[in-house]
């Protein structure tokens, strides 16, 4: 997966246009991963009497 979006300037040189919006799923996934990992740690901590 490309991390960035690219275009071309008037001379044909490649220029960056921004991020590849497929990374939106990565941002959401990373946020949900923090939530899941913390929730599991919290659950295990309670089971172990923490």
């Amino acid at each position: 997966m490309e991390l960035l979006r690219y275009g071309h300037d008037a001379w044909g040189a490649t220029v960056v246009n921004g991020v590849n919006w497929d990374l939106l799923g990565v941002a959401v996934g990373a946020g949900l991963a923090v939530v899941v990992v913390h929730a599991l740690r919290r659950l295990l901590g309670r089971r172990n009497g923490g």
């Binding site: 220029v15 960056v16 246009n17 991020v19 941002a27 959401v28």
Partner: protein
Amino acid sequence: MSNQSDDSLLRHAGADRFFHWATAATMLILLGTSLLPVVGIRFAWLVPHWVAGLVLTVLVFFHVFRAVRVLNLKSIRLQGADFAELKGPKAPKPGKYSLAQKGMHQAWMLVVLVAIATGLFLMVKAGVPFLERDPYLFRLRTWGRLTLLHDLAALAAVFLVIVHVYFGLLPEKRHYLVAMLRGRVSRAALSKDHDLSKVERGE
């Protein structure tokens, strides 16, 4: 921290609670107007986006002014001693804000400042009623880099919203949410994770 009573402390003044919730609403509008078209929900997003961006800019100026003139910057500044919290339950308790709370604030500060700084320039490229559109202000390469930073700020904001809302809704953190809604927090709830003597010293 002023306005202290026997069993509760004022954690967030009304002006700061207004800033928090107004910023939250503005961020959701900014993320909605920028990212819904990305996932295929098409609408005229530009006007609500730049209007919300300007509102956010005004709110941040208001917050910075209050932080410098009224609030105690020492309580939110991330310092080396804050990382002692990582040692676990035996570590000294923090003052008003924990390491995680300071980290969240610094992350939001970085994301919002990058979004505002790049967004103000991108308004010149897009054209708004009070600014003459000038897509030739910068070279295409520079516009691309500004857009890249603006996009990265948006992605980071999505991550931060998810994490911030999750921790804000946890039952054991409920007193923080109540304090952000009503202003006050009970000494008993706060003392579980914070050193009240430090809080009262403004640390």
